[in-house]
């Protein structure tokens, strides 16, 4: 993955160089914004990768395959989407966790439902959403998105 990282770094670096020629000030602002977002994200990254280590060392594979494995079926799908709905945080945090669950034998559709509902369903933020859009919209949107997350998982299962 380090090699992919280098290629990507090279691409983005060239984009910065090209854009510096076009608009020096705006590109400098981009770089500052990038650094600031990365710093803000650091505690979360440390937490997530710490959790990945714990998962790999301590999480028994039987437990994962019982609750999230292929044989768990709809229950696994519900658990995946439910865990995602409770968790909040940027997608960046969801990928490593999802990856270690997949490695431990989780069913891909359940994991896809987890990622999608992690981002598009928010039980913790639903009161805030209701304050801004009204309770009716917040409830409708979150419940329909919850079902859509599970549907996404099922479709992914058919596709892969």
């Amino acid at each position: 993955m380090t090699r992919v990282g280098l290629v990507y770094l090279l691409l983005i670096g060239s984009a910065y160089l090209l854009l510096t020629l076009r608009d020096r000030q705006k590109t400098g602002q981009s770089l500052k914004m990038a650094g600031k977002s990365l710093l803000k994200m650091m505690p979360l990254l440390v937490a997530v990768f710490g959790l990945v280590g714990l998962f790999q060392e301590f999480l028994p594979a039987e437990l994962v395959s019982r609750w999230l494995g292929e044989s768990s079926g709809l229950v696994g799908l519900l658990i995946g989407a439910g865990a995602g709905a409770i968790a909040i945080g940027p997608p960046l945090a969801a990928y490593p966790l999802a990856g270690s669950l997949l490695d431990a034998g989780a069913w891909p559709p359940a994991i896809a439902a987890f990622i999608v509902s992690w981002i598009s369903v928010g039980i913790i933020t639903i009161t805030f959403e209701a304050q801004i859009f009204g309770a009716r919209f917040a409830l409708l949107r979150n419940s329909i998105s919850f079902v859509a997350a599970m549907l996404c998982g099922l479709l992914l299962g058919l596709l892969l």
């Binding site: 992919v4 770094l9 981009s30 977002s37 714990l54 301590f58 990928y95 999608v116 859509a148």
Partner: protein, 162 residues
């Protein structure tokens, strides 16, 4: 505050694990550090891209794009906007509500929040952890479901007396 809950949880779990089994906990910490090390370059590059997108594709531009079109084109633009906007979804709630007050449809608001689950600039990281077939399929299906989800929520919103 919301951002730190996971750090607290992880620190707590480590504390407990260390008390129960110091050797395995050290190993867990090592796995975590190695994994982070292997994707750090990728993460740094992705944030470089995040900075570029935030400055060159400004919020004002997105507001202009979303407010202008009402038809199918508007729904497609909303899908696209959701996939490039960064940050936790709740940060853009107020922005979306002001768009709605200025005439954007409920479907547009919902679609942005649904397609939010795909992050184009994060795809290299997703692929690193989950592989190409999974990441690509998940992105395509999420995008395909965004517009139906939006229209469904809108239909319910407009059906008064429910």
């Amino acid at each position: 505050m919301i951002r730190q809950w996971l750090l607290l949880l992880t620190a707590g779990l480590y504390g407990y694990a260390f008390w129960a089994s110091p050797g395995r906990t050290a190993h867990a910490l090592q796995i975590g550090a190695t994994t982070l090390g292997s994707v750090l370059l990728l993460i740094i590059s992705v944030f470089g891209l995040v900075g570029l997108l935030q400055v060159w594709i400004s919020r004002e531009l997105i507001v202009k794009l979303l407010g202008r079109e009402g038809g199918v084109k508007g729904l497609l633009i909303a899908t696209f906007c959701g996939t490039v906007l960064i940050g936790p979804a709740y940060i853009i709630f107020p922005l979306l509500m002001s768009l709605h007050k200025h005439g954007a449809r409920w479907a547009v608001v919902t679609i942005v929040l649904t397609s939010y689950a795909v992050k184009i600039q994060m795809i290299p990281i997703e692929v690193g952890f989950l592989g190409w077939p999974f990441s690509l399929a998940r992105a395509l299906i999420t995008i395909a479901l965004a517009i139906p989800t939006g229209l469904l929520v809108e239909a319910f919103m407009e059906k008064r007396g429910l």
